[in-house]
Symmetry: D2
Subunit: 406 residues, 4 copies
Amino acid sequence: MKEKVVLAYSGGLDTTAIIPWLKENYDYEVICCCVDCGQEEELDGLEERAKLSGASKLYIEDITDEFCDDYIVPCVQAGAVYENKYLLGTSMARPGIAKKLVEIARKEGATAICHGATGKGNDQIRFELGIKALAPDLKIIAAWRQDAWTMQSREEEIEYCKAHGIDLPFSADSSYSRDRNLWHISHEGLELEDPAVEPNYDHVLVLGVTPEKAPEEGEYVTMTFEAGVPKTVNGKEMKVSDIIRELNRLGGKHGIGIIDIVENRVVGMKSRGVYETPGGTILMEAHQQLEELVLDRATMEVKKDMGNKMAQICYEGKWFTPLREAVQAFVESTQKYVTGEVKFKLYKGNIIKAGTTSPHTLYSESLASFTTGELYDHHDAEGFITLFGLPLKVRAMKMAEAEKNN
Amino acid sequence: MKEKVVLAYSGGLDTTAIIPWLKENYDYEVICCCVDCGQEEELDGLEERAKLSGASKLYIEDITDEFCDDYIVPCVQAGAVYENKYLLGTSMARPGIAKKLVEIARKEGATAICHGATGKGNDQIRFELGIKALAPDLKIIAAWRQDAWTMQSREEEIEYCKAHGIDLPFSADSSYSRDRNLWHISHEGLELEDPAVEPNYDHVLVLGVTPEKAPEEGEYVTMTFEAGVPKTVNGKEMKVSDIIRELNRLGGKHGIGIIDIVENRVVGMKSRGVYETPGGTILMEAHQQLEELVLDRATMEVKKDMGNKMAQICYEGKWFTPLREAVQAFVESTQKYVTGEVKFKLYKGNIIKAGTTSPHTLYSESLASFTTGELYDHHDAEGFITLFGLPLKVRAMKMAEAEKNN
Amino acid sequence: MKEKVVLAYSGGLDTTAIIPWLKENYDYEVICCCVDCGQEEELDGLEERAKLSGASKLYIEDITDEFCDDYIVPCVQAGAVYENKYLLGTSMARPGIAKKLVEIARKEGATAICHGATGKGNDQIRFELGIKALAPDLKIIAAWRQDAWTMQSREEEIEYCKAHGIDLPFSADSSYSRDRNLWHISHEGLELEDPAVEPNYDHVLVLGVTPEKAPEEGEYVTMTFEAGVPKTVNGKEMKVSDIIRELNRLGGKHGIGIIDIVENRVVGMKSRGVYETPGGTILMEAHQQLEELVLDRATMEVKKDMGNKMAQICYEGKWFTPLREAVQAFVESTQKYVTGEVKFKLYKGNIIKAGTTSPHTLYSESLASFTTGELYDHHDAEGFITLFGLPLKVRAMKMAEAEKNN
Amino acid sequence: MKEKVVLAYSGGLDTTAIIPWLKENYDYEVICCCVDCGQEEELDGLEERAKLSGASKLYIEDITDEFCDDYIVPCVQAGAVYENKYLLGTSMARPGIAKKLVEIARKEGATAICHGATGKGNDQIRFELGIKALAPDLKIIAAWRQDAWTMQSREEEIEYCKAHGIDLPFSADSSYSRDRNLWHISHEGLELEDPAVEPNYDHVLVLGVTPEKAPEEGEYVTMTFEAGVPKTVNGKEMKVSDIIRELNRLGGKHGIGIIDIVENRVVGMKSRGVYETPGGTILMEAHQQLEELVLDRATMEVKKDMGNKMAQICYEGKWFTPLREAVQAFVESTQKYVTGEVKFKLYKGNIIKAGTTSPHTLYSESLASFTTGELYDHHDAEGFITLFGLPLKVRAMKMAEAEKNN
């Protein structure tokens, strides 16, 4: 009996060509596994295609809700943003996919997992670190990094497929290199490879429009959160994945969440991409809007560091690590009271706050206003400043003294 | 001969009323000092007003350029933003004002400095910590925190002035509480005191318009920086203050930089305000756009922490401290190669990147693209991932082993 | 009926004098509460003394085990050390005492809590922040900060007591100012007030001896931990408080844990003290010794930051805050596998490691040694270094290029 | 004409065997370069040995003073310690050596640099990252990582040398694997490979004795610093390298600075080693003793983070990076006033403080003592605590309110 390999399969040309390649070079039985994180791709006919290409089986696994609950929500709560801009859409999906691949490998008794991520990107790292952490005994085959992988273009892949009896209607022309899931879509390549060039948004955008093409009329949205988890949009209770779908619709319509960034990859070089994260951008902003009312200053400050850590960890593919667990434990502890309602207006790329309330608000109107009361006496400020400024004053006096002694 | 006090004087009702109050309660000779940080107020007639109110002298000191070079530029370079939103407009101005007050006090041989900041705000702290650090021997009088200060409203202040022979045309109705300088204007009070309420932007805004009222047509802007310092806007070389003026004009026109925030004050309570920082928002964004191309990943990450520190330090009024100096030294060291040109489009509240170039770019198109070359071999990724993921794999193996032994 | 006040009572002269003072100045019924954190003081006769001094009731509350489990263990796990040296002995005890005082106040229906901490120290802050966080409605009376408190010396306190009919045998001579509990004893005052002067250890030390006076013979100790909690010493299972007692005995004997420090108080000045923490020093060192084997590099690094945060929070008296809870959640998450045995030798002030084992060790002898194997191929290092060093190399090349273009 | 390679040469068996190997496998002219960082090795006869082994030239370069001034002093000032214990002795030396190798390569017009660091250690990374950063065009040959390198033991190396006509008196028996320079000596291998085993210190130690074997009598030492740089020991002015030599003598004698650690290597595994850093341990402790008196609280806290960063950067071989420069700029800025005298006693492994003075001390005896004065009024503490604790109190009140509303 042949050993089995589980192949992360998308149905596209790249991963389809891997099927005959794996059989030819390793003599494996190939089990395809297509993990759905909400990429909205046509999955009809996928099984036929996989089998036609030589796979013995195809799993189609929808992990969209798990993706939302176990990866997106913790990152939203952490406020995890990579290099000021990137909302980690691809990064957050990879560990969930790795986990599912391992699960199928265990179920099938496979001894290897194969993926088709490029040798210059971050995704190879995220897939492989996920697999290593969950199943250190499994062999990992990164098809594109192998010497035996000789195809250098779509044309060659199509040729290779044909030579192995696979005649499928793949187009040879290439567009942007894209990755899509429920949270976002990323775009790389073509004119984007030159940071001096403005993106051709008419070609680039998939999930929404530019602010210029968004409606002339803004639109108010209301959201509620419970303990840091989004619960309703415009009064309608929905599970998180449906909330993101609805926010994607709203954000895409109003030109929200388009990012153009030169980022630093884990493998050591800079790359340039455009990300669309319409719903995600709204969700993170709304969550932060509520936190403003509920978190105290010291917690906010340290949580900002933790959010940065979360972003680094997630970006580097180190999801299944003790550090990610610990950072998440920190973040979760801060979310207990992040409950309330936020209102904002979407208008041509802008998310404009329009009011926030919470049963756990730390804002006190009487305290904030200019009158004094029981809680606050102007004399207190006197004492506070005296001690708060004491180190500065003592230092200045000591310096003056030292100077005099010289 | 009477002792002298230097009064931080704006010409408004509040600080005007302090003049007779100081004379009555302390028997000082009052030297007024109006420090101009670009607040665009009418200064004609100010001297007459001060003297009419009982001051013996009025200094009008324009520190706008110093404000730009010594406070704004370091904060822009640091990327200093308080609680994700606030660009520190008021915070950055206070130490410069304190420094000037001390300078005048020394020149005049004064023994005290008086200010009219409220007892619940941050500004009292910033003024006083500045003075303590620069002149620990000077007495500080925070007029509003004194028991002898009994006026509770504008009406009472007007009454008090009249009773002391000062009959000036101050209006009794109050609007938002505002602070303005070259960098920004802040608004507090009225409907803003309830975070549940949307700001009435038609009343609030002073420096620009909302995105809704901005032109239908976007506008491209080009800026250059040298070693982290802005040098030109649209090809025209200008000093920093003029650059900010020009960016204010552009940003105000296009609805840029309007912030609605619930923030945590140093004195321990939350407050809600609206800030307009049209030019500042553009400047910080443009600087960051350039840094993306020039800073390596590790530097960016630690610099983010340093920027947060800078924001905290500045917000808390701890400008004249060894820690601020050290943080600034860190930041300056990172700016050596932040030289280049950024292009972006302003459109209804959005700053949309439109291309970045730098002689010191770390972006390499050949490296970023999917081909391999001398610098990068796919086999390298193999080794990299093996070692990068080694701790995860060893841990997983050890855990499996430990489980087996149980 | 009179209102009641709960007084934090030690039985010493200072807190005894407060009883008549409270009755005289506030007309309260005084409930004394002596909270025992393992200070090893004579408590016999305390009730009589309190009542004789005018208190209506005395509670003696032993919270030693709670002190260990809820305050010491989390800080040990965090590795919380203030300013490189101070093991937070007093800081950790204060919130527990405040909690107990609030509990008694609630039980008695008291409306106020009174303490005798000085107006220049950290303890007033820790007591009061604890009370504010747990019972914001209770009035706090810091006796020594009141104008009505006029006694300036022990003599005056004795005089005052006598004048109020309290004739107890207090001695008028003062020694070091000390605070003791199960974890440590602190010493301030006398010759220690001059940092230029070496402490007179013969007078200072209470819990142990100097290294010079420790035995000539070292002593091996073995400890085990489970999930970060100490379980046994030299094979004997004990509760944490008994473990600390045993380690105090051992550490005191061998001259361990004597610290001489100039530290920065919260209230803005430096102070100098000597701390003895014999058992605590051993416990923290032993815990760290085990963590070395069990924690991965990334977790260790971030945990170090969290330990520093924990130390700051605890030192500042901000125990009952969301931030402390979140930091503790982080730390707890890292302790799951901190299980194992550590051996060390105590010898004249030194704790010398003598072997560590853990079922969850991440150390792999085969991996660490110089041979290569399945897990590690020298070629992997090649690829790793190429990518790990890629940003440096690209930068150097770009710089050379830029220079050439100039 | 042959291309030239510069070989990092120690004169030991390992690097001697590389000479014929390089000539055989690459057809290079081999230039040997022995960089002296104070390793106290016999350099007489080294040139003869190198030439006899086939090298065309030998450079002996003493960089000990540069090592002290450019690497050690910045790390001491930063308080850089890796994983709580390791004083970075080897890590700090590597970049200096790399720099010198590049310098010789440039001088000789060489096209490659070769080193003999193992494929599992940190040093290969430190050498290579140094070279990449300073001379990205140079080829790097890590002899031991090459397939052509087939020798697996000292015996085989000796055999190989003999076969190539090199008959030198190398002993075949191996001891600990060691690295020595002015700052420290490290020991790995033999019984140390099992963390459960106590080090055999009688065999291990080279620079000093254990505390047990140290003199019964302690010894007082006085040191002065100027702006963070050590200037004198016991009143004698010396350059830094001589200060470290003298402190090594003193520390070695008194059993100071022996560390037994399980550390995390960059390449992803844990390793166990013993380090002797007698003088370095004293120097760092003395520097910190002075900083206690001179640095304010906020600076100390952030500097601790920066010290950790410095340690990570240095350990990872990323010395020649913008981040290291920026961190060093931060640290240098804090050292301006680290001037003064420290006294301490060395006794059997202990460094016991015995008094500290500085013209820039921030310690004020009058402020620290229990009396109040001009600078500090007990009422100030009242106000300070009210505002310092305000967020906790408001939160507690709001929570109580929210509960009531439920």
